[in-house]
Each structure stands twice: as structure tokens, then as C-alpha cells.
């Protein structure tokens, strides 16, 4: 009883620490934890208002933008198909489960969908599952099972990409399915528990209607298990039957094909890369997409290495055992397949969209890495130096996460809420407003501006409109909108325009907006400037 109480205290404190870190910079601010969540918020708000949960009835038969956009605009009340509208369409068209979850949470808790989307419930569940999995594994491991506490705190604060991801409802809920799968496989491997496989596999069938990226990860993970069957066939490790290993990816692929996602993603890859997997931008990044500040990169890579060393070491040991034709323990088979699936997924990401997207792999592998770290430490846990070193490593990981999370969070400066409130009172809500992703989404969600546009991530636009010091370079873009909202933070932080941890545009580039004779500067509070486009009449014939 006393042992259970101590475990409960330990788990509760790990969950509290996770909530504090994952929510950093998001409390009381209208910026969503991640603005990709906002489209679900809009759909869920409409669902709550109308009493219907959002389902796109045509999803199985009609998926292309040209086929469905008019019905989409009509049902959601978007008069123009702006960048935001197309973002919302993307999820409206293929992912009914996320808005459904958000609307259900909202209706039951009484919170607005915006507030419900900020509940880090899924992250807490993953922390709980990691603790349970570590306990399951370490109870059967030589050494001290109390090392499992390290897994709890390593996952609660040890990976900034994981923390950032788990505060966004859409991806984090599906990471729970991955943690459930890992636990179920280990129950099956260690306890011969057949029910665990069904419990952990079945929810995965929902992924094509929930979150595409995790669906692709699971497909590659099960292909890795199938590969394991070939490599370990003499050892009769039927951890997952071969037909399941092959059938599940097939089912997911068919589902993705039917709901249009696979076709759409292949088309996108063809358009952006020139070839299916490899192209001019593939294997690296968009040139302007990896402008990460050096300290942030160094901290992030150091953190990832520290957390993933035990998992990597286990992978090396498993490969060495195979080379010597030694049998692998069932838990090693699980972790080896997990690491191999993660590796395949990483190669796919790197080849298709670039190195900065590898944080997805870090997120999906982090629970396994934390558990393996505890498993590796268990035999040495009696040594005081090991305990102190492990706790110090977790503390360092937590410090790194705090810095990375705080620095990668769109902070809401004091002048920003008044600025958007002023716009709501003085600017026609039908005007086309151009701004960065967060500012535009607040104007759309909170202040009822219907035609807000965020930048498309093209290099030309970034270079000419944002980074350029030349006032003249603005002119071709200005006739496209009525108002332009500029946050001062872009000069010094540069977070929002260019994704997490990107370079700021600098003071000179910032100043060019104020120097343009084609822009009225109508509002200034030190944090936000609002411009009204007023083109010199001589320019217009040339531009149009």
C-alpha cells in the first residue's frame, strides 16, 4: 500500500512537471499552442454551436479541392478561399476524428473548443503509459526496478520536440496510440497476453481518419516487424503474426487511398520535389527553412543524443547479437523493430521533406527511448554515482527543454491583444488582412475577420517581402491585400513567420515597412504596427 502511494506521488509529480513545461507560454494567450490546431477549433466551434459533430459526407468519394471547395466554403461560411480556408479544408476533408474529439471534449467539459484544445491530456496519458511500461519491463529485469522513475521524468521533461508536440491535441492523441502499442507488444512478449495485441492494434485502424503522419509511421513500423520476421525466422518469435505485419500497413494504405490523402501527398511530393522522393530540395530543406539559431540547434541535438544513446546502444547490441547468431530476448525484438521502423520513417522524411522534419521521429521514438534508458540503468542503480548521474542528466534535459520550449513558443507581447482589439473596432471585417500565421489566426478566430491570409512558405516571398532591406521589393505584393499586420517580434525573434526557431528578419528589414510610401502606418503600440495599403497611383498600371 505504502509502495503504491509512493508510486502515485512520483507519477503525479512527473505529470505536473510535464504540464508545467508543455504549457509554457500558452496560458491566457489567444495564440493556440500550435496554430495548426486552429482549423480543428473552428470546425469544433461550429459543431458545438449547431449540435452536430463535423463529418464530411463526401470524403469517401470526392476529395480534390476543385470538387469540394464550394460546398466547403458554403458550409463553413468562408467567402474567399484564403490560405486559412485551404488549411481548414485540408482537415475538413480528410480528418473527421480530430474535430470530433475536440467537440466532444468541449461539450463534456464546458470549455470552449479553443480552451479544450489546450488541455494536455494526451501528454499526461503518455507519461502514465511510459511509467506503466517501464514498470512492466523492469519488474522482469535484473537490477533495481526503482530505476523506472527515470523513465517517468525523462519523458516528462527530457525532449523538447516531444513536449511541444504533446500540447497540440491533434498529433498528441495519436502518440497515445503508439505508446499503447508499445505497451501491448511488451505485455504480449513478456506475459503472453494475447488480448493486449488486439487492444493495441485495433485503434491504429483509425489513424487514416485522425492523423496522417502517424499512420505513415505505423506502416513503416509494421514493415520493420515483417522484416524482423525474415531475419529472425529460425527463432520462432511470432510476436506479431506475419500476416498482421503485412495486413495492417495494407489496410492503412488502402484507407489513405480511399480518403484521398495518399494521392494528395504523392501529388504534393511530385510538385514540391520534382520527383517522387528525391528532388532539388530533398534531402536537405527549403533553403530558408533551416535557418535555426545555432544555440538552439546545438541544444536540441545535444538533448536528442543524450536521450537516445541508450536506445541506439540497444540497437547496436541487437545487431551484434544477430551477427553472432545469438537469440534476442522478446523485449529486444520489440525495441529493435521500433528503432528500425523509426529509422525507415526518418529516411522517408529526410528524403521527402528535409532534415528539419526529423523531429517527428524524435517525438515518436521518445517514449521508447525513455523506457530503454531506465532499462539500461537498472542493473547499475545501486551505485550512488549512477543514480546521481542519471538524475543530473534528467535535470539537464529538463533545463534544455525549458529553454527550447520557451524560445519556440509564440509569445503574446503586451501590446498585441490591444492591437487586434483596435483592429476589430476600426477595420472593415471584410478587408483582406495579411499577416503571420499566429496573428492571422487570432484575427480569424477571435475577431471575426473572414479574409485573413498568412504567408505561403515560398523562398521568393520570404526573401523579397520579409528579409529584403529594399522598400521597392514590397510593391508587387501590396495590391494583394488591404491591411498588413506586423509584429515587432519578427525583428528580434522571428519565430512565427518561419516556423519554430527560425531567424529573425532584423531591424533594417523591419524598418522598410515603415519607410514605404505605399503603406499608411495607422497603428503603433511598440509591439504591433498596422498598415493600410495606399499604393501610389502611378504604380498600379504597371503592377496590374
Amino acid at each position: 500500500m505504502r509502495e503504491n502511494l509512493r508510486v502515485a506521488v512520483l507519477v503525479a509529480s512527473a505529470c505536473l512537471l510535464f504540464v508545467a513545461l508543455a504549457g509554457l507560454g500558452t496560458r491566457g494567450e489567444p495564440y493556440a499552442p500550435n496554430e495548426w490546431a486552429f482549423s480543428h477549433v473552428i470546425l469544433a466551434e461550429r459543431a458545438v454551436e449547431s449540435g452536430h459533430l463535423p463529418i464530411n459526407e463526401r470524403v469517401a468519394t470526392q476529395n480534390s479541392l476543385s470538387q469540394t471547395n464550394s460546398a466547403f466554403q458554403k458550409s463553413l461560411g468562408f467567402p474567399r478561399l484564403t490560405f486559412y480556408a485551404t488549411t481548414v479544408w485540408h482537415f475538413w476533408n480528410g480528418l473527421p476524428l480530430q474535430p470530433s474529439l475536440l467537440a466532444t471534449l468541449s461539450v463534456l467539459t464546458g470549455l470552449s473548443p479553443e480552451a479544450a484544445s489546450r488541455l494536455p491530456v494526451a501528454g499526461v496519458v503518455v507519461v502514465l503509459l511510459v511509467g506503466a511500461t517501464a514498470g512492466l519491463l523492469l519488474a522482469r529485469r535484473r537490477g533495481d526496478a526503482r530505476a523506472g522513475g527515470i523513465a517517468l521524468f525523462a519523458i516528462a521533461c527530457g525532449s523538447a520536440p516531444f513536449l511541444l508536440d504533446m500540447r497540440v491535441l491533434m498529433p498528441s492523441t495519436t502518440v497515445v496510440l503508439l505508446a499503447l502499442l508499445l505497451h501491448g507488444l511488451l505485455r504480449r512478449a513478456l506475459l503472453k497476453d494475447r488480448a493486449a495485441l488486439a487492444f493495441s492494434l485495433t485503434p491504429l485502424l483509425l489513424l487514416p481518419f485522425w492523423y496522417y503522419t502517424v499512420a505513415y509511421f505505423v506502416m513503416l513500423l509494421f514493415l520493420a516487424f515483417a522484416l524482423g520476421h525474415l531475419l529472425l525466422r529460425r527463432e520462432r518469435h511470432s510476436l506479431i503474426p506475419l500476416w498482421v505485419c503485412l495486413l495492417l500497413p495494407l489496410l492503412l494504405a488502402v484507407s489513405l487511398l480511399v480518403n484521398g490523402a495518399l494521392t494528395s501527398h504523392l501529388e504534393l511530393a511530385r510538385q514540391t520535389l520534382g520527383s517522387l522522393w528525391m528532388g532539388p530540395d530533398a534531402g536537405s530543406d527549403y533553403r530558408s527553412h533551416l535557418n535555426r539559431e545555432p544555440w538552439r540547434s546545438a541544444l536540441l541535438y545535444a538533448q536528442v543524443i543524450l536521450l537516445f544513446v541508450p536506445l541506439g546502444w540497444m540497437g547496436v547490441q541487437a545487431a551484434a547479437s544477430r551477427m553472432r547468431s545469438q537469440r534476442l530476448g522478446p523485449h529486444r525484438v520489440v525495441f529493435a523493430a521500433w528503432a528500425l521502423g523509426g529509422l525507415l520513417f526518418s529516411l522517408l522524411l529526410e528524403g521527402a521533406v528535409g532534415i528539419s522534419f526529423l523531429n517527428r521521429s524524435v517525438i515518436y521514438l521518445a517514449p521508447a527511448a525513455a523506457i530503454v534508458a531506465a532499462w539500461t540503468l537498472a542493473p547499475f542503480w545501486e551505485k550512488r554515482s549512477v543514480r546521481v548521474g542519471a538524475l543530473a542528466a534528467v535535470a539537464l534535459l529538463g533545463l534544455g527543454s525549458a529553454g527550447l520550449v520557451a524560445g519556440a513558443t509564440p509569445s503574446y507581447a503586451p501590446g498585441e491583444a490591444p492591437a487586434y482589439g483596435w483592429m476589430a473596432a476600426h477595420v472593415d471585417h471584410g478587408d483582406l488582412v495579411y499577416s503571420s500565421l499566429e496573428a492571422s489566426s487570432v484575427l480569424l478566430r477571435e475577431d471575426d475577420f473572414v479574409n485573413v491570409v498568412a504567408f505561403p512558405p515560398s523562398e521568393t516571398l520570404l526573401e523579397r517581402f520579409w528579409y529584403s532591406h529594399d522598400v521597392a521589393s514590397l510593391a508587387p505584393y501590396l495590391p494583394s491585400f488591404d491591411e498588413f499586420v506586423l509584429r515587432h517580434a519578427v525583428a528580434t525573434q522571428g519565430f512565427e513567420e518561419f516556423g519554430p526557431a527560425r531567424l529573425p528578419i532584423g531591424q533594417e528589414a523591419y524598418a522598410k515597412f515603415g519607410a514605404s510610401r505605399d503603406l499608411h502606418l495607422v497603428y503603433d503600440d511598440g509591439d504591433v504596427q498596422v498598415f493600410r495599403v495606399a499604393m501610389q497611383p502611378e504604380r498600379l498600371p504597371f503592377i496590374t
Binding site: L101, L108, G131, G135, A139, G149, A195
Partner: protein, 257 residues
Amino acid sequence: MRVRVLLPLAVSLSLAALVAAAPQTRLQLPLALAALLWAPGDALLSLAYRGRALAPQERFALSCALGLALAPVLGLVVSLAWSLTALHVALAIAVEVGALTAAAFAWTPPATRDAPGLRAPSTPATFAIAGVALVVSGALFAWDARPPEAPAALAIADESGNVSGLPTVLAPGDAPTFQVDLSAGGAARSGPVDAQLVAPNGTSTPLMHEEAPLAAGRSLAFPLPLPPLSEGDHEIVVTWQGREVHLWLHVRGSVHA
């Protein structure tokens, strides 16, 4: 055994009833989360494991995870009452619920050894770790909850206070009037507000120089009339408290576009 199966379902329904009966209370959030996440998952585990041993922490974590996996499906079940044509969703639900039920009833696991589950360090060590986590979490919450102080703001609009009606092109001789807004924000402000008109040849004409003391939270609006304008690009510049707004008035004899 029936009690173990039925109890979580009864608890789930009771929690949902409590949420419905007492909305808008502090208890609504934990009750709703328990009703949505924990109780249905625990009921499923009871069905599947029928009294077989699960460590307490493992049971709780698995319940929450299964509940979360089922939550959007439960939402869609509700939505199907209105939208029976969503065939793909119905299929997904059938697969999900059918397979989980099959797992629960058909695959009764063999006797599993008791899973001891996670173990904690000694009592002093546990409370030391929890104490450090509590202090760090509290510090992070407190740091994050600092109230921001709204800064001073300066704005300019047309005579009716509307930005969208600001002129882009004017004819020679036009003499528009604009409106300047000052907002003190979170602190009292004092200092002059300056406005000037810069002509196309670069000469500057003062339009206003007045002290504008403002108490915290107060705002002030006043008109800014202009003299008749000649042809060329004129600029109105208004400054206050280190803020600046400006308008470019393109005055043309013949108006393009």
C-alpha cells in the same frame, strides 16, 4: 466478476450525469475527463481481463489510453444520429468497437503473473524528487502567469474612425480631416502629441503640438483637420510617447486606377 465489469460503466454514467446536472462548476472538468477517458477504458479492461492481475498504475494508464482512443469514436457515434450517410465513419466505428469487443470476449488471456508495476525509491527520496518537481512546476506556472502591462498606443483613422475608409488618392484642393486616437494602456502618460504635414518639397508644417496627459486605462480621440493640399505626395506624421503613425496622401490632378 459482473461487479468488476458493471461498476466502471455505472461510474462512467454517474459521472456523465453529474456533469450534466452540475455544469459550469469547478468539478465539471475532472468529472468530464473521468467520464470520457478513464471509465469506458476501465470497463473494457474489466471485460477483457475478468479479474486477471494488472498493476494499479498499469490499469489506470491503460484505461485512460483506451478511453482516449475511443473518445472521438464516441463523438462520432453521437454525430451519426444526425449524419447517417457517413459510411466510412460507420465502418471505422464498426471495426473499432467490434474488434475490441471480440478481444474482450474471445481472447481471455491465460493466467498472467502479477505485474508488480513501477517501483518508487524510498519515502524520503520519493518526497525529495516530488518536492523538487513541485517547486520547479510552481516556478514555471508563476513565471508564465505574470500579467502583462498594456503599452501606450497611437492610431490614426478617417473622420469617422474607420481605417478602411482612408483615402489613397486625393485631388488638388482637397482638405480631409482625420482622427487621432491615443490610448494610455496600463500606466499614466504625459507628454506632447505632435503632428506635422510634410509637403512634396520636404517642407514641414506643424499641425498640432499639445500636451496630452492621460490616466492609466484612459483613451482620447481628437480630430486632425488638414489645409487644402497641393499636387504631389504629402505625409502626415503624428508622434506620441515614442510611437509614430503616418499617412501618405497621394494628391494627383488626374486620378489613375
